[in-house]
């Protein structure tokens, strides 16, 4: 019974939940990764200089490049969060958005896997990067052209796209 309720809520959340927190998680995480890498000292470097957890990341790119990559994810996703309601529903906007989300998902997946397999036993703290990668993929797969109308009441001005909240009234129109 418990497992059924959990899977039901997870399924509803996955299909109808707002993906904005996933984007925000990716933004915050990218910013913190870029900031930590920018501190003086070498984290991603050759064997003996850098830390062993990041050795596969060093095989792909050096530390300054990773700072640029994380900063690009942070800035692009932050820009999308701030500007998505100003540009409307254009095909190029949708392609741009799905490209940014896909880029973030691929980078986070690579980082999570590269750091997990770098040593044994794997670095337990990379579990959080795995979760961030999962959230990015969810955000990517749920990305669709933004509907101009509410999906429940078809009102153009309604902001209550929250059918996920079971049994609770929505914000504006009161539909459940």
């Amino acid at each position: 019974m418990t497992a059924m309720i959990i899977s039901e809520r997870l399924s509803t959340l996955g299909r109808y939940g707002d993906t904005t927190p996933a984007t925000i998680a990716s933004i915050m995480s990218s910013f913190l990764w870029a900031m930590c890498l920018a501190f003086p000292g070498t984290l991603i470097g050759p064997v003996g200089v850098g830390r062993p957890t990041y050795k596969h990341m060093y095989e792909v790119a050096d530390e300054p490049t990773w700072i640029v990559i994380f900063s690009s994810i942070f800035l692009l996703q932050l820009w999308r969060i701030f500007c998505h309601q100003k540009v409307g529903n254009r095909l190029y906007v949708y392609l741009l958005e799905i490209g940014i989300k896909g880029w973030a998902a691929i980078i986070w997946t690579f980082i999570a896997l590269a750091c997990m397999i770098a040593q044994y036993p794997p670095a337990a703290a990379m579990s959080d990067a795995i979760v961030i990668a999962g959230l990015c993929w969810w955000d990517f797969l749920r990305c669709e052209p933004r509907p101009e109308r509410c999906t429940n009441c078809f009102n153009r001005n309604c902001r209550s796209s929250c059918p996920y909240v079971i049994g609770a009234a929505c914000h504006d129109s009161g539909h459940t």
Partner: protein
């Protein structure tokens, strides 16, 4: 600016709870693997508070409690008990994640970047705690499956 303030209006903190539960399960499973995960310099301060097993049990307990909290929301008979346990579990989970984030950041210089992802999950759990809404505890009048069917969004063709 108004739009930016509203960007989390339709979001639910339950996502943060599921994310932290999943992360706790992976932490627990990783720490339970044979070998001394806490021996390295990255976990020096965490190792002072307990070894692999202690932390594996702690993370496993957080995952189980968080999932039980979500699953049992509409099952518990006493409303007051439900509110108190919900708030207590969310506070403890947020506290433990913040503590772990702090320990990971203090371990070495420059600070380990993975602590950034841990900090994000800790922030999500504080969001869950501060945005706590006891309305979720009320039992739905109809079966959840019927409600889900009723509230499924109708597809709108976008031109």
């Amino acid at each position: 600016m108004t739009n930016n303030r509203r960007c989390l209006e339709n979001a639910t903190p339950e996502l943060a709870v599921f994310a932290s539960a999943l992360a706790s399960i992976i932490w627990s499973a990783t720490l339970a693997l044979p070998g001394d995960s806490m021996a390295g310099p990255d976990f020096h301060y965490m190792n002072l508070f307990g070894g692999d097993r202690i932390w594996a049990i702690a993370f496993g307990a957080i995952a189980v409690l968080q999932l039980w909290r979500i699953a049992g929301r509409t099952q518990r008979e006493s409303y007051r008990f439900a509110v108190v346990t919900d708030l207590l579990i969310s506070f403890v989970a947020a506290g433990v994640w913040t503590f772990v984030t702090g320990l990971c950041l203090l371990n070495s210089w420059p600070p380990s970047p993975y602590a950034g992802s841990t900090a994000v999950l800790a922030a999500g759990l504080w969001w869950d705690f501060l945005e706590y809404n006891p309305q979720h505890l009320r039992k739905p009048k109809a079966k959840p499956a019927e409600l889900i069917h009723e509230t499924e969004p109708k597809r709108v063709a976008v031109k």
